[in-house]
Amino acid sequence: MMAFDSVADFLQMGTHGGFVWSTYGLVLLILTGLILNTLQGRRKVIRQLKKRYLRESNS
């Protein structure tokens, strides 16, 4: 059972909806940033190394 009677109640979160939802938004932003940074870092390393190995084998 949902703890709220309606979607409006859920969004309002009692009296402090702005505080609750801004926390959730902020955390979503930070975690997404961390995940993207991790995956991009991986791609970047592989790209760099590939370039490096190709340069070495050509010289």
């Binding site: 949902m2 703890a3 926390t23 930070i30 995956l39």
Partner: protein, 248 residues
Amino acid sequence: MSWIWFHKLGSPKWFYQWSSKWATAVFLIGLLATLIGVGWGLGFAPTDYQQGETYRIIYLHVPAAVLAESCYFSLGVAGFVYLVWQMKMAPIFIKSMAPIGAAMAAIALLSGAIWGKPTWGTWWVWDARLTSVLVLFILYMGIIALQNTLEDVTLANQAAAIVSVLGLINLPIIKYSVNWWNTLHQPASFSLTKKPTMPMDMWLPLLIAVIGFYCLVAGLAMWRMQSEILLRERRTQWVKEKVMNDGV
């Protein structure tokens, strides 16, 4: 008692292959558990009789705070391992884990501030708990800065390991700050020795969210360590083959 696991764990190649099997699964389990725990807490856990709905911030605040401390503890252990045995994997672990810990500490501080405003009437107070967690965040940033600015890799490894070990002193201060000093912050939500003060349909989603955060962090840490291993072991044949054959 065999010490083979210790030697295996010290081998970047072995760790790379082992973590390749687990990283994605652990990360996805973490994502699922986090969504279940946090979603349950946000929409289905009962309303708090004192704080109303505002207490639902706890489902992000506590997992992040627990992980900020656990990650730091693991950094301290890795720092010790590096200083004593010069194990290659230890600085790779420290470098990969520090940004994750910093993100967790940032979430704990920010969610705490937003929670503090409606419940305490202030975003921030310079009390023991809040200040010691701010120090934790600064320690993480210091370790990241050392790793990124020192060009000599050995020096960077050593400096980061030393700070990691020294910073351990901050952990008991964080833990006991709510008991030793007067503070606005409430005492721990979970304890190994006492029954939770919350009803089960409040603490069970919180526990699931904490486990979810642990798995998320473990998955991310494995991925970051793999990148760092490729970079540091770039002169070895196995890394070259992996990168050139897209076997990564």
